[in-house]
Symmetry: D3
Subunit: 286 residues, 6 copies
Amino acid sequence: MNKNVLTFIGCDSDYDQSDMVLFGAPFDGTTSFRPGTRFASDAIRKDSDALETYSPYIDRDLADYYVIDVGDIDLTLGNTQKVLDEIYTFTKKILNDKKIPFMVGGEHLVTLPAVKAVYEKYNDLMLIHLDAHTDLRDELYGERLSHATVIKRVWEYLGDDKIYQYGIRSGEKHEFEWAKEHTQLVKFTCRPLLDDLKKFKDTPIYLTIDLDVLDPSVFPGTGTPEPGGIFFSEILDIIQGVTQLNIVALDVVELSPHYDMSGVSTAVACKIIRELMVGLLSKENL
Amino acid sequence: MNKNVLTFIGCDSDYDQSDMVLFGAPFDGTTSFRPGTRFASDAIRKDSDALETYSPYIDRDLADYYVIDVGDIDLTLGNTQKVLDEIYTFTKKILNDKKIPFMVGGEHLVTLPAVKAVYEKYNDLMLIHLDAHTDLRDELYGERLSHATVIKRVWEYLGDDKIYQYGIRSGEKHEFEWAKEHTQLVKFTCRPLLDDLKKFKDTPIYLTIDLDVLDPSVFPGTGTPEPGGIFFSEILDIIQGVTQLNIVALDVVELSPHYDMSGVSTAVACKIIRELMVGLLSKENL
Amino acid sequence: MNKNVLTFIGCDSDYDQSDMVLFGAPFDGTTSFRPGTRFASDAIRKDSDALETYSPYIDRDLADYYVIDVGDIDLTLGNTQKVLDEIYTFTKKILNDKKIPFMVGGEHLVTLPAVKAVYEKYNDLMLIHLDAHTDLRDELYGERLSHATVIKRVWEYLGDDKIYQYGIRSGEKHEFEWAKEHTQLVKFTCRPLLDDLKKFKDTPIYLTIDLDVLDPSVFPGTGTPEPGGIFFSEILDIIQGVTQLNIVALDVVELSPHYDMSGVSTAVACKIIRELMVGLLSKENL
Amino acid sequence: MNKNVLTFIGCDSDYDQSDMVLFGAPFDGTTSFRPGTRFASDAIRKDSDALETYSPYIDRDLADYYVIDVGDIDLTLGNTQKVLDEIYTFTKKILNDKKIPFMVGGEHLVTLPAVKAVYEKYNDLMLIHLDAHTDLRDELYGERLSHATVIKRVWEYLGDDKIYQYGIRSGEKHEFEWAKEHTQLVKFTCRPLLDDLKKFKDTPIYLTIDLDVLDPSVFPGTGTPEPGGIFFSEILDIIQGVTQLNIVALDVVELSPHYDMSGVSTAVACKIIRELMVGLLSKENL
Amino acid sequence: MNKNVLTFIGCDSDYDQSDMVLFGAPFDGTTSFRPGTRFASDAIRKDSDALETYSPYIDRDLADYYVIDVGDIDLTLGNTQKVLDEIYTFTKKILNDKKIPFMVGGEHLVTLPAVKAVYEKYNDLMLIHLDAHTDLRDELYGERLSHATVIKRVWEYLGDDKIYQYGIRSGEKHEFEWAKEHTQLVKFTCRPLLDDLKKFKDTPIYLTIDLDVLDPSVFPGTGTPEPGGIFFSEILDIIQGVTQLNIVALDVVELSPHYDMSGVSTAVACKIIRELMVGLLSKENL
Amino acid sequence: MNKNVLTFIGCDSDYDQSDMVLFGAPFDGTTSFRPGTRFASDAIRKDSDALETYSPYIDRDLADYYVIDVGDIDLTLGNTQKVLDEIYTFTKKILNDKKIPFMVGGEHLVTLPAVKAVYEKYNDLMLIHLDAHTDLRDELYGERLSHATVIKRVWEYLGDDKIYQYGIRSGEKHEFEWAKEHTQLVKFTCRPLLDDLKKFKDTPIYLTIDLDVLDPSVFPGTGTPEPGGIFFSEILDIIQGVTQLNIVALDVVELSPHYDMSGVSTAVACKIIRELMVGLLSKENL
């Protein structure tokens, strides 16, 4: 008899054999509007059962590759700094073991310690950032560690000209102005990323997708719905482009399943994760 | 005083006079992920009250034609084979009375006995199948009768080159491969159907629409939401095309209203049913 | 210490200084299908907290202009005529004070008394009407004052050739026929409004947006969802066009937040209100 | 084939044969807090399908008696006075036909015209009123016709010492003081009604049950939940007592099914209706 | 690193060492009103995380005993007979291994094959049945295998005078009459079971708890809510009594978590399961 | 014109004049299971509109006393220590102004800084604690500041024999054992508090009510529902007793309105707050 093991579909390889490691970081401690991204990784695993491992988009099957879903990190709820340290340590270990870390948030702040760990390995790291929001505030309600400041904090590691932001449609005026100096920011759409692909060549890339880059009609289940986002076909195109790059770590964040009564947002997240996986793992010379 | 009669709007003609018979088949017994399509026909009748009988798309009014909504078939819950037999018998009677049967599911397996009944009358029958899923598995969890195998079972009646599938975006690898040999399968979109119309000429057609062919943003209320589907304008175009064919029976399946808190999926289903009706009934020489 | 004041974000100027006055008219007394628009203004104020005052679309910040949110009118629930009188009086006062009234419904009937007040000031007033429904019935269930008759009643003030309707996709046959004689009615889309802009020149305009003009995928939270509507990018384009006109009063109606479990409809309404405000207030020579 | 007729279980006798007539009055026009009682009669009919006709409490079966459910009255939404007139006329007809009218609200104001009709037939009529609220305001938001004033209006017909109120736990101070002079009011509990039974003897009684007399744990689905109410066993005892009286008309009001996600409130309402029916109809010498 | 294992809290012993085996039977195929009990075992495992292993009621800690949660049986959805066979085989194996099977439904029909397996081992088996419904119909909609017939089918194995039913408050008249001849049936309450305890002595007992025996205020999350049930304190008393008996197998059925928005029903089920476990396992001479 | 001010009903006195100050502490940062208590104070204010100021229980009217609702404290989300400091400072100011602070949580950890502020003024302070949970863990997931440790932390200020706990029905074994040495803990019920009243005499009391002391049937809207709690009538009795004591500060915590679809939990919280207010303020010699 088997115990009741819950993993993302097709991600049941042995750790040692795996090229990619999926894990959850169920933290939503700085969420200002509506919490609940802590429930995302669990929802994704459960509903992935309704997903096939086969991608009709690129005619590849996740079952043919080696990925492990190691579950969620145990996080110290209520202590933001400890949580970030725990994510950092976890990501570091996966990198040391020469595997690609694939983190499922949680809120966007979880990206910070993961980038830190990756940056220590690849100090020419660049960030590709898909989001509705700039996330470039310097502080929110007096706090420097927040979902709304995370890319500003990441910039403190990576520096100017290393951060590419796409799909941005919300932020304070000064954030957009700051971005003109320090990042490349594309408003409203992600399509220009497809033209930018050649710029990145073989540079190591950290890819972070805040799922609220999608239009709320496609993805209602998030803390701060922002009308005017991209549609599913656009994110599919982006995934097919970006998986050609040298992505060394990635995350998908901000699914809040309790605001998704019909489960469609979780289904969207599941399919995005599958397409990212098969896209990255089916490249030659991985 | 009148008793409280619940019918789909505009479908209150006498049976004998009617050219088309609407009925519900509230069965969801093989649903593997989330049940609830059994509630569809009731929800559709109730919410059709907010629908007008007039179609501004083709400038025709359902009130000018003869349709009867005869309510739901009494089905033997818990016994799949009996349920299928009951649907078969019911459909057969409508055909014998020289009317067009229009079935509202229920899960997709209800299509099987209806096709069987129609095939016995028209043995050159072809199937037009709009769906997110191939439904071409040979069995699911050991069962040959399932929502996921229904088109494979239908093929056992109709044979090769009789089944046209559109909008398909989910399935196992072997299903897509099998389809290459036995059906015509169009991935992701239904638009090529508009080019295929002339192929069908006057051949008798069974039209089955699994509503999950629509994108979950348009139609969240279904058991297995599949991102990447078609939009409402596309299905309207398809309906205007397909209603020119010789459709001898049809169904609309897989609305699951409990996963549709805002009622938009039921509204979509209602409008699709109205457009199919006015499109089919307003043809000359019906 | 401050009391707990709830206003739409950025609308906290003094009344005397303000160029525009936002107010709620939480009435849903004639709603025939699903009530609840009475909760809209409260929901909009609360969720506007997740909205920035800055519009990246036109690079203008609401914080740079003078608007006051004066809260909701106290309405006499259960007495339709009194409610309309109260809205009329309230709108009249704002106009007398030489400010632009911006009303948040409530159901669409609230537009009638507001138009009346504006028409008394500008008797060459024209109406721009965005909606899924014609709202041109003469009566509904025996009543002449109804959400479904409101534009017919408005016509009794304004007369022929003064009412422009866009995005209409639902109504009875006779409503569409009546419209051919008395209004300009564009079916399914609002884009032709952008071509019509020059026609309006400096004529005083009342703009009424029934949010169900949007597709239910974008805006599920409304009493009568009508599939086949416009998308968010289209309404943004329309707003950028129409705010160039001489709009002397406006309203946004028919958000029903209880049918919007994920809050996306309220987010859409908030952003439309912000874009209308910054668009109108940032014109030169306001 | 049968059309889809929806009636309360066991209430399908012919009108002429019936001793009791069940009908819905789906009006919620003066509801100040949360509307939705208009959906009650439909929900009750639908969910009554899960109810047996047999009462194990008094060992009687509804199937053995003659009741008809005639559906809902067509009401003029948005015009309170017309709605009340329509209910009055409908009730009057049933009384003229020598049957017991059993009305399902709707909000509590629907009781007023029904009492008026009954009072015209029985001018020694007394009212037994179970409720959380006094409903004795003179006006609400300037309106004399309101769910919060209904018993005050009823008193204007019946006069002092004719109204018995039980279970009351909410109201303004002056309402409780007024009640001391004009009605018999029992706070918090309904049990004293069992002692009062002998007082009523054969006097014709109108029984009105505002279901919010029940504790919100038992009955959450109502517009204004009032903690501290009675439990189901108490209302069962009350029903067994009160059905011994000479009840000539009755109503059950204020179920608001949309606030009752799990359906338990509708189930409670259904069982109360069944017990009232079998209790009244199984009396000897009906 | 650990994979993501989901078990009921405190049930993580090795199989061989365990005295009791918890498993899920997620079947709801014959449910006539509202399906969804298939989600119960998953919900119970997940929410058990908020439960302590320690019982303050009997001052015992589940952590001190040996139980394993082996997850859910793989069931053949859509084929009732196969499902029953699978449950039978699974239960049989646990019994052969000299452990107590503790099944979590699923709908009530799952009890039938489990009883059959247990009866083959203990042919003097008696059944203690807590439920709102008699479950004594001979068939439902023409089917003999149904949640509404399960105790009748169990009786065909056990015979007269072996079935004790408590808390029953719903059924058809003929079911109650049949029960007078063949079972011991207590209406409305379970308390008489405490007096009956001595009757059972050391007889092997199968205990089946249909959670709808609880009042819907305590336990709203079930397919057919039946007002008038027992409260939590009563079921606690019953558990403390019944766990003194020689229970050789048991089940807890009919939680339908999707009708339990606030999660209270799942919490009730979790605590009942814990109390049954610590009660049974802490007996001397187990 | 008035801006849209949202206060708890009847709490609109001037600050200087007020004897009691109501404020919200919308913090849920350490919540381990289901977050959302941050929404409680807003929900309470809004739904208090459906509450009367008059208490029929003690025949007193809140309108006759002086209370101010000053809204919510601005809290630094994501930084637990700062949040606690902000609550401490706020409470301290109210005490310095010789008013009674009445805090609405938020999660239970908000009690800690409030007790600290009160303890600095009254160093013979005693705590009366109504709760389902002991809250006596030393740490949770490695954190000493948590909703599950708050009473242990409070004990570090107050010391042995100063903490009285009632209604406790959940905790780890070691917590109950620790309580035997350091607090007075009553399991399952709060009624013994009524006997303990005389013990407290004039000692300054901090009263903290974790609303999950109530049974989930009464109060489903909380993060961790614990079946087996007290009913509304019991908490009313407790309030009438405890308001006779010398309560110098108090709080009501752990309402999580998003898990309370029908609003009954918010209604319960509102009525408890009103009864506490009128009970405390109507004492002679306040």
